[in-house]
């Protein structure tokens, strides 16, 4: 059954990808890429990667679509057409790369094969040791937060780089870095005139934020964690902003607070690492945070996930406002 669904979803993704490349209307292309992300999320769910599926759905299908639409609102909807040079050369190279890839897949282990190398080396250790060393049910959280917590620290910094980068680039030629709620033009995108989206959006927003908080603090037991939670909370606030307009949304969560959240999350995460150094352990060795190593791991995970959630929420909303608060003219 998985095979049938998987084949169907993957071929749909190929079709959607081709449609995106061939589409000249950018609005349609953005919508198609949202569909692409949803298909991807379903695929990941089929492969039992619920954590990744949740992230892909929230960020890929949700927030990046809104961001792309926000950018579109500031430019034009139709793509300028121009014939690319060396078109056939590019196609030939693509086909060549495709053939090489297909050739290389022939020695791949089968999906779900318990003898595959990935199931023989570090993965069994993670599965065995997580209950003993960290004592939480969600092994994914243990791997991302503790065993490979340094990677996750890097990922949070990637997010922060994106946030600082957008604020920096969009502030060129302006007098302030962050959008000033008092100077927001009145003609930003909003749906107040459309009754059905208005009512439903307003009803949904608080529940989305509540669900985000649940995912944040329940990440050790079920799928989720800081990344997913941050994306969900940001999605809730963005929905509110889309429905009510920029000004009320900025009044609800001011830009300074968002900026502080983005930076504070990284400081919190790095701070936990430095605290463990000061207590005599290595960077991000949560075991030394408390006298009981397992309790230390719990506290460490809780704090760093909070840091991740803060930065993700702060950055996603900062980026959204940086686009949405601009005067389209």
């Amino acid at each position: 059954m998985t095979l049938v669904f998987g084949t169907f979803l993957l071929s749909m993704m190929v079709l959607v990808a081709i449609a995106i490349v061939r589409e000249h209307n950018l609005f349609v292309a953005v919508m198609l890429s949202a569909i692409f992300s949803l298909l991807m999320a379903t695929n990941l769910f089929l492969l039992d990667a619920a954590d990744v599926a949740l992230t892909e759905a929230a960020i890929g299908a949700g927030i990046s679509t809104v961001l792309a639409l926000g950018a579109l609102a500031l430019t034009a909807e139709a793509e300028q057409r121009h014939r690319p040079k060396y078109r056939w050369l590019s196609i030939a190279i693509m086909v060549l790369a495709l053939v090489a890839l297909l050739y290389s897949t022939q020695d791949n282990p089968r999906i779900g094969d318990p003898e595959a190398p990935v199931h023989q080396h570090v993965a069994p250790w993670y599965l065995e040791q997580t209950p003993i060393l960290i004592d939480i049910p969600n092994v994914v959280t243990a791997v991302l937060g503790s065993f490979r917590g340094y990677d996750t620290f890097g990922e949070v910094l990637v997010i922060l780089t994106a946030g600082i980068g957008v604020l920096f680039l969009l502030s060129a030629g302006r007098n302030d870095l962050l959008p000033n709620p008092r100077r927001i033009p009145d003609n930003t995108i909003r749906l107040r005139q459309h009754t059905i989206p208005h009512v439903i959006g307003k009803l949904l927003a608080p529940f989305i934020i509540l669900f985000g908080l649940y995912v944040q603090f329940h990440g050790e037991y079920g799928p989720g964690g800081g990344f997913q939670a941050g994306a969900l909370i940001a999605a809730g606030v963005i929905l509110y902003g889309l429905v009510e307009g920029e000004r009320p949304s900025l009044a609800l969560v001011p830009p300074n607070l968002l900026y502080g959240l983005s930076l504070g999350g990284v400081l919190l995460y790095g701070g936990v690492g430095i605290a463990s150094m000061l207590l005599g352990g290595n960077f991000l060795d949560y075991s030394v945070l408390m006298t009981d190593p397992i309790a230390g791991q719990h506290w460490g995970l809780l704090l760093i996930e909070l840091g991740v959630g803060m930065t993700v929420t702060g950055v996603l909303l900062s980026i959204y406002h940086a686009f949405a608060a601009r005067d389209p003219h």
Partner: protein, 501 residues
Amino acid sequence: MTLDEAIYNQLPALQVIVPLIAVPLVAMMRARHLAWLACTLTSLLSFGIAVVITTELLAGATWQYAMGAWPAPMGIELRIDSFSALLLLIVTGASTLMLLAARVPIAAQIQSIRQPLFYAVWLLTLGGLIGILVSGDAFNIFVFMEISSLATYVLVAAGRDRRALAAVFTYIVMGTIGATFYLVGVGLIYMMTGTLNLADMGVRLEQVADSRPVMAAAAFITVGLALKAALFPLHIWLPNAYTRAPHIVTAFLAACSTKVAIYVLLRFDFLIFQESIPNHALHFAGLLLPLALAAMIVGSWVAMFEDNLKRLLAYSSIAQVGYILLGAGLISTTGLSAAVLHMFNHALIKGVLFLAVACLGVRLVQLRLSELGGVARHMPWTMSAFAAAGLSLIGVPGTAGFVSKWQLIVAALEVGPWGLVPIIAIVTSSLMAVVYIWRIVETTWFAHASTAVASVREAPSWMLVLVWLGVAANVYFGLQPQLPLTLATGAAELLLESCCD
């Protein structure tokens, strides 16, 4: 355990953590001078840590660090050897030198309120590059590659020149393709070995050697990193990005960003693929040598006719990437140590050349040769430093550039009669360098003064001090190349240790 020892053991982690933790602090600052000061001190501290790490390494210490105290390959491991140490010196040293010089040129090119963010992004670039160098884990390298790449895009687009945005867009697309190729390759290796730790990967790949996914992985990783390293013909993103970036950013990037990509490329090809793919050394040389030779000739050729000073130097950099990969493609201890040494020397040379350009940029907006006639008579100190670094680029004896080019020629001679081809290319490319450096010297010193430069003053003396410090380093390492040479030879032996017997 005393405090000293406690700090000592944490040095590999501190090397990368210090600049990254400083990022949010610098981004919070409102005063631009304070932000500059904090950023420069952080960079200086990183440089200090790199110096201590290198000194200890030369005294026989080995540097390994388990992040989160989880043993590799379960956790992520940091590993610093002589190859990474040399690159650490380049990256942290270049960053510190450029930051010390940055205040005046940045004030001219970036609005005051945006400067704290600029310095925060600079630290992200620095931390990202360091993270790649100290890491012993393939996926971790990808994460830090993302940090440094994203931050670099922002730095390049930071100036007032709006044409930078178009240049950055090309750079983003190409850089993302490079990073994605790298990630696909790492994914394929993970599929076949179940590990992400580089050392462990080398061991476990032997069991699945010669399988198709591993070969595909080698292709993906090599092409992806060659794209990031701007190896000809994958260099098209580089000239515009270097030309349009703020001058001081160009100086920083030219000194280190492509080198870090070459570092990862050599690590993967020598330590991982050569062990596990039969004849990989031959494939590697067969692919890289012709491209390296082409890069040396084409890069220098274009530079000879280029009018824009920064673009001219950018094409010269493309030629220099060719020199480095030529040495690596010879697959011998001498060749590899020449390559690694040239990474160090080229960083010294291009750093100084672009810093001199930044000095020009403080006084002039247009940096086209046709509008720089006679500028050296107004800015003699700047332009003589430029000429001195130019001599090092050409490879005049007594300068750093000579040492590595000489090593390259020696390595080529070891190959036998075929070694004549690279030697001809080295000599031709160096003669072309004589032409384009002389063109600049001739125009700026002897040509009729153009109207644009009539009222130009010499650059700020603090910047001149730093440029001349760089020139002094070029001469010092030309006469006393022991330090980089020892590290480079150590790196070459390390890379060849496990393969190519």
